[in-house]
Chain length 434, copies 2
Amino acid sequence: MSISIRRLDTAQADFDQQLEALLAWESVSDGKVNEIVNEVIARVRAEGDTALVEYTNRFDRTSASSMQDLELGQARLQQALNGLPADQRAALEKAAERVRAYHERQKGESWQYTEADGTMLGQQITPMDRVGIYVPGGKAAYPSSVLMNALPAHVAGVKEIIMVVPTPEGVLNELVLAAAALAGVDRVFTLGGAQAVAALAYGTQTVPRVDKIVGPGNIFVATAKRAVFGTVGIDMIAGPSEILVLCDGLTDPDWVAMDLFSQAEHDEDAQSILLCPDADYIDQVEASINKLLPTMERREIIEISLQNRAALIKVADMEQGTALSNRIAPEHLELSVADPEAMLPQIHHAGAIFMGRYTAEALGDYCAGPNHVLPTSGTARFSSPLGVYDFQKRSSLIMFSADGASEMGKVASVLARGESLTAHARSAEYRIKD
Amino acid sequence: MSISIRRLDTAQADFDQQLEALLAWESVSDGKVNEIVNEVIARVRAEGDTALVEYTNRFDRTSASSMQDLELGQARLQQALNGLPADQRAALEKAAERVRAYHERQKGESWQYTEADGTMLGQQITPMDRVGIYVPGGKAAYPSSVLMNALPAHVAGVKEIIMVVPTPEGVLNELVLAAAALAGVDRVFTLGGAQAVAALAYGTQTVPRVDKIVGPGNIFVATAKRAVFGTVGIDMIAGPSEILVLCDGLTDPDWVAMDLFSQAEHDEDAQSILLCPDADYIDQVEASINKLLPTMERREIIEISLQNRAALIKVADMEQGTALSNRIAPEHLELSVADPEAMLPQIHHAGAIFMGRYTAEALGDYCAGPNHVLPTSGTARFSSPLGVYDFQKRSSLIMFSADGASEMGKVASVLARGESLTAHARSAEYRIKD
């Protein structure tokens, strides 16, 4: 029996509505979630470690008696790294090396320039002092995500990187700890949920307050991040992962089917979309899907994901496919074509662009170098992959010469008086030469 | 009668607590505000223009009969610009020119590099399609803020800039409209509050949906921005404005007093802080404050602001002053010293740094060039001035050669299998050469 996947065609009269329904996704924190999260945050702020230990024992079914039981030392991380099978360790090291090398190129540099009258303007770039990385526990605990979150912070020059990872029933993930050792994480607390976010945002007796919290989590984590936004910086609130393959119809259909699977296997809400101008090719991909699906270890998840959220979309031509891709603003975009570079100038919105038939998204997820933390659910319209720039910030530099202050003081004075801000005006006027 | 301003000394035993009390600020959206904002957003999403017109008439006491009455055309903006007094127009044009020139230097550039095996990695930078700028109405309607919000978007290459500005009782601010004309704003709606934010985030029949919303507003605006964060991008949620003057004790005390006033005159919650190692000098500044205060147009606001939130702090030396400044992470930092450049490497956290005795903050507020939208309330620890980078986003570029895909496919396969993501592994393995 073959799986039924949504087939759409841009020529259909109701295509726009169908597309909207396909893409609709809203992560709603209902009243109950908000209430729980607000209570957790309030208690962690008020009681600190005591509340952390209690919540962790309750939600993660652990039996910690103090925060000491909820911190892992560097020796433990190193032990995990040393305990890895040789091939895993080599692969993790290779990935870390490539991710680090790519991110080195993202480092912002301070700049200054001096005007004719001696006035200097510029921008100074500095790293954050301390950041927190949330790593999900349980089935979605990915060592690659530890690298992708911690390495950009490390490259940015962040002085202290704090990782939190829940360990339900106290189960540790050795690969995650090994990745933390490799990525230069400074401290690891086995905390999760809204209580971990609250601890990082406000600090407790044991957990130091951070400047920014990054990393994905469940609805409680996302809601807590939204609540503490402003007290600390946060990255995006992530939705389910998605891939859009834009194919000219000449890639091996098995490859494209497997690329769609690689997204669908993440979870039931993941979304896989194929755009192609060739209806026959779409049939071939569908045939590959049906052929390969029974061989997949994570068949059940893939099947639900494809049935609920996937689509095979016939477009008029590659140009229309590109326009549609921009409209969707996918997290992952595979340009499965002969000459992807020629298409780049037309791609306006995408988290990461995987170019050419050889560039499977899976390569980018692990070891190409660019980050795999990417804007989901169309947020690539306004946001970027996680990067070094997320851990640096800028300060404007302004140094007026006596001449410059005198000249600009006149301009500022007129504008300030126009806004009725006369202290501003008089402050500027003091610097005007007689 | 002299005004009483908090005097602190880092040598005091309870200095840390005093400092914490001084800096404490939390913008709390209480339950009632959240409820109102959520209802406004829900109705604007459901009913569109109808809800917008109704809310605007109710909250801004206008009598619009349709959205046509709530949009201003380019001709109206141009009329405002043409109607300005010559000195104001010249000053506004000078400010716009300098702000544009500075921000041109912030433009990010796409980059690529090719590895030995032909694999290409890079980062493509693109502007957002459409952004929304919230400009407060009433007493805090500042034309300079229109420039500071719109020009970076314009420089970034944003295709359409939508401005919303409430006009209570239908009163328009000609300087604000003139600034919109100068800054290249494409459409202006006379909307405000949570309803304006909702319209920009979700779109209505008349107001187009934007990708990001920037600009300050009252507690309803801030709460609405937090609520729509994720659906669209937002800038920081701003607190009251603050200045920290770090002075060696050799600047004219009248100048420093007026610089403190220029912050205090914004509103009663604004914060002005002086750090100086010289107690006599602090006395002189206090004397200047008492001498000048009776001459100030906005004396009442300044007095309340200084009494509630200002502090004159004696530090042991300039080094300690610098460390304390980093701890405070001020929005505006004046280095009122002879050699401010020597201090720069030690300044880790500040929104904008005004260097030297001539560089009054007021010059930077209007026409130096750098942005005056800056991180408040210590958020300079993790965020930056508004800039061109806020209106651009990045896409990762990955193009593997056949050789590169084969080599990296092996690494990805090991890591994917370590995470039990076998579709990822098999997708990568397809690209491994036999």
